[in-house]
Symmetry: C2
Subunit: 274 residues, 2 copies
Amino acid sequence: MTPNRTAFFVSDRTGITAEMLGHSLLTQFEHVSFTEITLPFVDSAEKARDTARQIDQTAAKDGSRPLVFSTLVDKELSGIIQGANGFYIDCFQVFISPMETELAVKSSHTVGRSHSVRNNNSYFNRMEAVNFALSHDDGQTTKQLDEADVILVGVSRCGKTPTCLYMALQFGIRAANYPLIPEDFEAKKLPSALHDHRKKMFGLTIRADRLQRIRHERRPGSTYSSMENCEYEIREAEILMRAEGISILDTSTKSIEELATTILQIANLHRHVY
Amino acid sequence: MTPNRTAFFVSDRTGITAEMLGHSLLTQFEHVSFTEITLPFVDSAEKARDTARQIDQTAAKDGSRPLVFSTLVDKELSGIIQGANGFYIDCFQVFISPMETELAVKSSHTVGRSHSVRNNNSYFNRMEAVNFALSHDDGQTTKQLDEADVILVGVSRCGKTPTCLYMALQFGIRAANYPLIPEDFEAKKLPSALHDHRKKMFGLTIRADRLQRIRHERRPGSTYSSMENCEYEIREAEILMRAEGISILDTSTKSIEELATTILQIANLHRHVY
């Protein structure tokens, strides 16, 4: 029997930080089921009062007060929310005061700026990383591979594209990807355009049953999506990647966040989450 | 004169939560310049001791102790880090104990699971959302537009693609995008395939100087990238979008996080950060 509780993530900006921290904390309570609601842009007294009302109504409906994770920095706004019938968890202010003491400066108490376009150059670079990932997706071009931070290789549909896009969007990393195909297995080596870039290359692999399921969604009943062919391609790709000395990561058991983190760590690339 | 301090983000998993919260907190201290270092996968006593050593060395080098934002849940590991010469900021445990009291259950004290592939179906849907965004990028197809959660329209290079990819990757939202081109301006209406989907359509616009800069990077000296043409397209696109009753957002002043958050809020779509 799992009691159901509501959790609100309240922010004066996008709410991404509040939601990510709050959600991480909730996963520590696996025997409680939570309804999670994010309320972004709570940046006026009126919106704070609306939020307080929503918290009160939820408390009445649920029969228990909701958890309220907040990153509000404005004391008037947070005061209004704290007046509602919720369990208020201050994700931000609780740290600010000890940090002020440690750093011996006052904080600026400005509303969340970590997800704004404040730093134009860094934002522009990140968008360029997205463009790079798109134009270097699926081996579309081998031009400018020297500008790539990393190059992912692996069989078709093993997870290269989402991983590259994630690295670009979240970390501003320039990631290309290249599919390994039967011609490469027969040649028993990497395409010549890739050969010189082995040092920044990472191999992705996947369990055959998972690949089969993904390929079947695209092309049901094809040779391409048959279990036999999936097993063959995965086996040959792994042999090739090992022979070329490329680190291999398994996308069946790792999320794109875990893959990206592992790749950046091995490649010793500086990361900066956006 | 801005003092320089080092900040570490230490995690037993990807470090994304620690880094995002820690970075948000650091932006509140705009007169201090920080060197930010993320240390993910600190999941053994040996790695914790390596981390402690790195903190000590940095403290000696900087002449001031680093800030250490940690989401470690294992007490042995966090104890080792706390023994180092850093200012330890516990981003997780500080909330767990009050939450245990409020929820009247003990937390599971398992290592971070919010960025794992634990929930297979949700993860699969998210990857499908990425595929949807890619196959419906730049008006490639008008098939399955009824399956789209949102459709972004706007002139070429105004930011539709990164915003769609971000919504897919971060929130699992199915987002298509369609470029508005001179033929649409002359016809003074949306392409017929889009017409029925106006309710889930959002218009992006951009300042002409910014668009000019972006287009110039792609096709220097072309009519396409000329200031005159950029101004013309933006003006006509805004007239068309207004006439069709489509909400317009400006990508010059809003980041993709802010655009995504605003769109999901207006569209009343449930969001779930991954």
